[in-house]
Symmetry: D2
Subunit: 357 residues, 4 copies
């Protein structure tokens, strides 16, 4: 398939560019009878909305989601749920030399090599705005999971050199500060760091952590559609992600088996694990523990410094990017990680349990 | 789908368990007219064969691949290529308490939770032997890529605390030593480290690096089937992988945009990049540079030390694993990483260019 | 997948119900650079629009298609093309006892058995209006095919006992009369027949014939995705179709091999066939001749006569359907047959030739 | 995908050519715990085996199926079931001019147009022998369906001008005569007809009817994956099928709604229908009645008469086919229709109910 769809039993298909009529998503395969409203979905969209927080771009978009089909009398009908977010603030705009110059760190050159030309307005299809549809789709998956007692939660765990301190971990704090960090001290430090970078016309990398709680053992397929493989696909499909880790992640390289193996034991009549180095997945199948995923985001490639690059005509040139750009990607992307995770897990759950849950 | 297939235009379907009649793979969608022989495929299978090297299990399996269909007069016909590797050394064996006890770090518990029972002989379907079929399929993909000037190469870049030194990097060395490390000094150090661990009845984690050279710009789909997303799926589908990194990987968290962005410039009439922090992928599409992937493998979970665990009947117990087990996964898995990478890239190439290359 | 998508390389996903906000479709996988406009698509939609012809329902819908994404400066960009048709005439309506009574010949009972409840307004998702999205998607496929010299044309070949006469065949006539029959005499006879049926509060079956010209030999896959298998899937997915025939269709049962085999011969340097009993497909692959498909449509199930049926509560009852209903399905469905055929063939063409045509 | 796979939750992938090492199939997605044996599968394979009956080719093949994976201690494990049938009687043979001459009514020309060359031995991949794998896969689906009370049965309903008489219908008779006709008188007449044709070096068309009993209402997806659309795909994917009919099939063209609509009524507390013109499917969803499908097979294209055709080099020529060929396809294909029907229905059932039945 052509790559704008994700999932097997629960499938989302996104469409839309940054500066076209709008963005949207069609969710096919959602079981019938799930109560869902535009308001519930909007809560997630507001988390990725720019303009509401200190370090996000000042672009003021309403980003109001509208359900166009598949919901009748407040409940899903089992037929495709189409959702749309209109692009309200699209300017007929001056895109300067973006049509003919390749921005470093962006997909411009690849698009031209692939398609011969591209919609250069605001990054077109490769804009971060494409994720609005994913978030709307993920909100339905999250509701589905909530109904079976599964929760998914993502937050920013590092920005540049600033990492959250497990001892100060406060989940409610993540919803309070502009950087979505569950540690007020770290958030303040990261804030200072970002201000400094902005003065230097630079940007920072970041890390998002996502935790799935309550997933029963047995979800995921043993070979190519391992739970971690599908999650890896889902998370790497978010722009700017350069690493995905499950459980102890890259630390396993230096680990020993005797430490890395999580011992099983019986706890209140159920199988439990004494540790969770595996991040809740063994052999591609959930083991009943929390699923722990980390995504490493590269620094925002759109920086205001002058950069060396080339034109579509094949000439060396120098580019100065203008406009509205966040100095860090993680804070707005954390809800996208959360929603892609929710969607991937709901899909594998339905593959296992069928469409009548 | 049920998860034993991988790919869209070029599709492999693997089958087989560790101790059944054999293992195999069906490759569908390979263009017609590609010259291929059992001997060419066997070269790759021999790289993952146990018994040939110091730190690999002494099990002596022939692992001879047989082409059963899809090749006529030495060339692919465009129809499915079925390949089989018979299990020759399967013992009717004593599996002790493996049928009823969950090995820590393994999928046993997940299988029982998912299917109600499992083929416990040698790990059944979750055995590393399942990858034999993948390697055979990847060999065909590698031949396809070679025909268009693309090469794929994987090696072990770290074992426990021992990391290869770029200054000593020697690609031919990787084929010479038992640990597949392209650095003789590091290989010797890692060898000492593993010997010590084996005495302690323990195992080590490892890292495999894979490099794709010669891939033109424009391969990969911009949204869900980004080149990195499909590679992430492919690599995470290999057992024991806990992290996948593209280019600078987790280091991007601490990076700044001004350093992380790779500048474009014209080189002999073609677009080139001055650096390759991106690992050859921008916005999910190849940019013409080398693709650089790293996979972190956890330590072999089968260790000889006594481990705490539970039985299928829900009782705490203690398990002592016997048998043949490598103390590190990377050396034998490196060819699997290479072959999954080759297959994923060949598939995306065919999606872009059609089935008549 | 959940069944609202069709195609492999060229994929359409439809959404929407008869009486919701609107209907739409997302087309993914269309090659970049194809010139397309809303006006070109509208031509096809107008052919299935009710209200414009004698025997169609008087419902006055604008059915204006709007392209929401994937087209930039008049050309496709290679990214998903989202199209929407708003439901303008939806009445808040009185649906009488349709929520609780199963209409004979309709999917009402099946929906309740499957989903537990249903959007009963105007048939919901199973309404013929769902095909509006398919027609819009097919229009893009038709443009793609036109660019490579392939044309697709469908017309009504029979209504009840009235069949078109090959001697009077006039392709332009089909566009002139209300019944889409390429034979003015047959159209007049069928018109009289339908008037009589309407007086009797009854409806008629019909047959649509579709012809594809200019398709090169070699399209279609030899086993499960035979050209005829994919066309069969496509045409049977249109509501009310009860039979699909390729070439001589059911007549082959009484045929002999010596007559049914089409002899090959050389014609102006190219392979040609003396007859076309096969309808252009041999072994699932196009043979360069015209593809000939026929679809048998059952009589419109919504008739005004009193009918015996049951309620959702499990009681026998009598139902009288009111509202707007055509007495025959073929005339408005012919463009749907044409568009599904165009889409299926364009998809298989892209599977064979890649996404860069 | 490349077209050698069928199904979504329950997927079969066939491989193999007429004269290679063998034929096979991998079935992925079968729920765990289903008891199955090679003997049960062999029963179905024996029904399509040549040599056992008067009008079938005298080729003596054992066609013994071997289960290579996915079954442990007599039950399916949930992992892929690989099955193989070795080609025992492959002669190194003299294929005469078949490598360079296109047989009328066969796929030879299409294969060359598509792939550039082909395995011409015995028809290669387009041989009827490819269906052996389908039959083995269908046998598993049939067992799965039997477990939930669903039976599938196919027989020959017409050969040339001879049609079975409903008044003489005897299901057990179909298993007794060489032509699989459930009417001894019709079988005798058809036998005479075929003998006459064979003397004339000619062949006959035929019709196969398939009936599914016990399927609950609610199976099938409402839009593109309607139950009839998936069945149409399945049946048209069998070589030589030129028409597929559901219920009243082509007769609906002349029907009236008042007759064609099946009235619902309550029967012993359950919804039932007074007639079954619909063949058990309304709006693409099963309605609880018997599913009735008919497939029209063209006459065997391999006839011994001299036929006009062309060579691959583009010259007119005359071809005389030799070897072993049945004069009619239906009798041996009836089990293939039955098995493809069973597989398609089991797949849609699992899509609806999940993988844990």
């Amino acid at each position: 398939m052509a790559g704008s769809s994700f999932g097997k039993q629960l499938v989302m298909t996104t469409w839309g560019e940054s500066h076209g009529a709008g963005l949207g998503v069609v969710v096919d395969g959602c079981p019938a009878g799930l109560p869902i409203s535009e308001e519930e979905i909007q809560v997630y969209l507001d988390r990725r909305k720019p303009g509401g927080r200190d370090f996000a771009t000042p672009r003021q978009e309403a980003d109001r989601v509208r359900i166009l089909s598949g919901v009748f009398e407040g409940k899903t009908t089992g037929t495709p749920i189409s959702m749309m977010i209109e692009n309200t603030s699209q300017r007929s705009g001056d895109y300067g030399n973006l049509a003919t110059t390749y921005r470093p760190g962006h997909a411009d050159y690849g698009f031209d090599a692939k398609y011969g030309f591209r919609d250069y307005r605001g990054g077109g299809r490769s804009s971060g705005r494409e994720t609005a549809g994913r978030v709307a789709a993920g909100a339905i998956a999250a509701k589905l999971l909530a109904n079976i007692g599964v929760t998914v939660e993502a937050y920013v765990s590092a920005i540049g050199p600033v990492t959250i301190d497990p001892e100060r971990f406060d989940p409610e704090e993540a919803a309070k500060n502009a950087l979505c960090m569950p540690d007020a001290v770290a958030a303040a430090e990261a804030s200072d760091y970002l201000k400094k970078l902005m003065e230097e016309q630079d940007s920072s990398g970041s890390e998002v952590t996502c935790i799935v709680r309550g997933l029963p053992a047995g979800i995921g397929e043993p070979v190519f559609d391992k739970l971690d493989a599908v999650l890896g696909h889902a998370i790497f499909s978010i722009g700017a992600v350069k690493a995905v880790q499950i459980g102890d992640g890259t630390d396993v390289v230096r680990a020993r088996g005797s430490k890395n193996n999580d011992s099983f034991y019986m706890k209140e009549g159920a199988v439990a694990k004494k540790t969770n180095h595996a991040g809740g997945i063994l052999g591609g199948i959930s083991d009943g523990s929390d699923i722990v995923i980390r995504a490493s985001f590269k620094p925002t490639p759109s920086i205001f410094r002058e950069q060396e690059t080339v034109t579509a005509a094949g000439e060396d040139t120098v580019l100065s990017i203008r406009g509205r750009h966040d100095p860090v990607i993680g804070p707005r992307a954390s809800v996208v990680v959360e929603m892609m995770t929710a969607f991937a897990i709901a899909d594998l759950y339905l593959c296992d349990r069928g469409s009548r849950i």
